[in-house]
Amino acid sequence: MMRTSNTGIQIQRIFAPMIERTSLREKLWIGMLLSVLAVGMYALYLQVTVGHSVTGMRDNVVWGIYIANFIFFIGISYAGAVISGLLHLFQVEWRKPIIRIAELITVIATIIGPLFILLCVGRLDRLHHLVLFARLQSPITWDVLAISTYLTGSIIFLYLASVKDFAIYRDSTTLNLSKWKRRFFAFMAINYHDTPSQQKSINVAMNLMAIMIIPLAIIVHSVLSWIFGMTLRPGWHSTIFGPYFVLAAIYSGTGVLIVALYIFRRMYKLHDFILDKHFTYLGYIMLVLAAGYGYFTFSEYLTDWYGSETWTSQLIQKLFGWDEYGKLFLFTNVGGIILPILVVATPKLRKPGWITLASAIMVLAMWVKRYLIVVPTLETPLLPIQDIRPEYVNYSITWVEWALTLSGIALFLLLFTIAIKFMTLIPVSEVAESYDDNTQTK
């Protein structure tokens, strides 16, 4: 029988309405998300039956918003992988209330990211060829293997951090659970009763995973960058693309985590657990990452601009040209680098609201940045093109692509909503131990 402290009971009471039943408000919310998904399904049906001509992708620009979304979602999955992994290894105490949210972001984003690759693939009926005819020397094969391994690791990491909680829910007298849900929690708790040997096993497993998940996450995003970096295209063929992608991923992951914490704190009134200091500390992490990311960005584009190679110059002109991508490029640098640094560096602005606003703008800027990595390069072909329609060279997003992009976001939110039906967003066991230790010390 797992017992928990008053803090644990308080957390269970907060989340009991979500775990025990589904309110009208939640039903409406889920209905809205499903309606967005339904439009997305119709768009997918059109894309499969009519073909990729319903998207903006053509012979030259063969990648578009789907690949940008893929990089973005895999990037934000870093929120849990690196942040919670690192904080766990360094035994940072303040991490405890936020790790569950971070790990959920990781797992859900890693599920959704690869879906966009499937949307980008022209012949889904040949998808199994990826496995049957895999070439080990192809970056695409590296990506398939790395992401599936990373997803497995993320799920194991989330599960290990949740086993104690499942045992608490199973034995909880606070939660008024239906029979099937109690049986579900009993199944997920795998006979955990917090015996010393079980505690030791779970701690060893957690430490192993925390060590594994960090290099794994770095490898995954490096491999992702090599899909671009291994090609001899202007703007992609760069030796710093691996670390540049990794840094950008941790950075955007931190931003999404801050936004999620702010929303959940307000929505479920978690002010006792998610404190202002969490925003400040994550803000500091974001500040350091913003500086690093800014340095990489400057280094990358300065080298390209200074080299003045013919095709690279064409790309740079596109990115800097006010009539082409100049405005978006400026936004990615101001909103994605300068703004977060200014907000966190200014003591008066170092408040949850301002930090969250800066994070939200930064996350949007980082998404735009992924778009600017993918599209302008493909619009700068290495071979001269003659006598071709403008829409074959210039990419523009169609409503089908927007619908499927919004569906990806809707699915992300839907999976989060479903996850809240099965676990508390604040880990009961971790936080209860921590708070009770503090109380005893006091």
Partner: protein, 316 residues
């Protein structure tokens, strides 16, 4: 009590506001989607061929290749105007005819157009079908298909031929060509006609030499000796006088072992990025990395199994 009622009222008002917001969002979303869907349907509709009650006009053109053995190859190209450009019509039946001195049409045969809209017919007994002036008159006719209207065209050419002789002198390859046209007084030389030499490559022909016929209709062209042939060093050489108004194309073709042999034997590729076998270092690195990660996963799974199989201590 009033405060409590106010609270309840304000809470219910807030809920109603939430509800209104959600309904408005849904309405906005569905409206946007419907507009987009309609726009998409319109876009799809515009991609369909324009509806023409009396069908598409087709356009036919014919060219001819005259060979030294007297045979004539007729190439008929059938096209329709679609999406602001002419496109070949595949799977269309083309009838080929020659016109007799009496003006009667003699059927040469029917051929079906390929994916590019071209139908080819080789007429081997063409020399017996000249008209009173000693010319050939050919007709290519398309009877129409589905929404494509019928069309036909004719071609008038004078019999002529290009004879080719080859010679190897030391390491120099020579091609001697004589162009003559038929006449009641016997063959007459074709003077000042540009002749081009081609070699067949994988996808198209490569131009390797050119010259012009003299007063005797003769020209000698040197052939390069550094071309890749097949595994027996063979090259398919084609000499052509192209697109003349009077004779059409005059073509002569011969296969000579004048290239260097390219061994077609497939060798086992080395381990490399471009071969089916990845480099050894890559295989080793891959297995070390994946092996390390998945071994850890299995260790963790084992730990979880140990947790599951442990019997709980008796409750005090």
């Amino acid at each position: 009590m009033i405060m409590t009622n106010n609270k309840i009222y304000s809470s219910s008002l807030r809920h109603r506001r939430y509800l209104h917001c959600i309904i408005m969002l849904l309405a906005f979303w569905s409206g946007t989607c419907m507009t987009s869907l309609t726009a998409q349907e319109d876009t799809l509709k515009t991609e369909e061929p324009p509806a023409e009650p009396d069908g598409f006009k087709s356009k036919m053109s014919v060219t001819a290749n005259q060979f030294p053995d007297g045979s004539i190859e007729l190439n008929a190209l059938l096209r329709v105007k679609y999406d602001e450009s002419y496109q070949g019509v595949p799977d269309a039946k083309i009838g080929f005819f020659s016109v007799s001195p009496e003006g009667e049409e003699l059927a040469l045969g029917n051929m079906t157009t390929g994916a590019n809209g071209i139908a080819i017919l080789v007429d081997k007994g063409a020399e017996q079908k000249t008209d009173a002036d000693g010319n050939f008159t050919f007709i290519a006719r398309f009877e129409g298909k589905d929404a494509i209207k019928p069309s036909e065209t004719d071609l008038l050419i004078h019999p002529a031929k290009l004879d080719m002789q080859t010679e190897k002198a030391d390491s120099i390859y020579l091609i001697r060509l004589t162009a003559t046209s038929a006449s009641p007084d016997g063959p007459q030389p074709i003077v000042a006609a540009p002749v081009t030499i081609y070699v067949k490559r994988m996808f198209s022909s490569l131009k390797v030499g050119e010259g012009e016929t003299d007063e005797a209709g003769f020209v000698e062209i040197e052939f390069p000796n550094d071309l890749a042939g097949d595994e027996n060093a063979n090259l398919e050489i084609t000499a052509m006088i192209e697109e003349t108004e009077l004779y059409g194309n005059l073509t002569a073709r011969e296969v000579k072992p004048w290239g260097y042999s390219v061994n077609a034997e497939v060798k086992e590729l080395p381990r490399a990025l471009w071969s089916p076998h990845p480099p050894t270092w890559m295989v080793v690195t891959f297995f070390i990395l994946m092996g390390t990660v998945w071994t850890h996963y299995f260790i963790i799974m084992y730990k979880l199994f140990r947790i599951k199989s442990e019997k709980p201590a008796a409750q005090p």
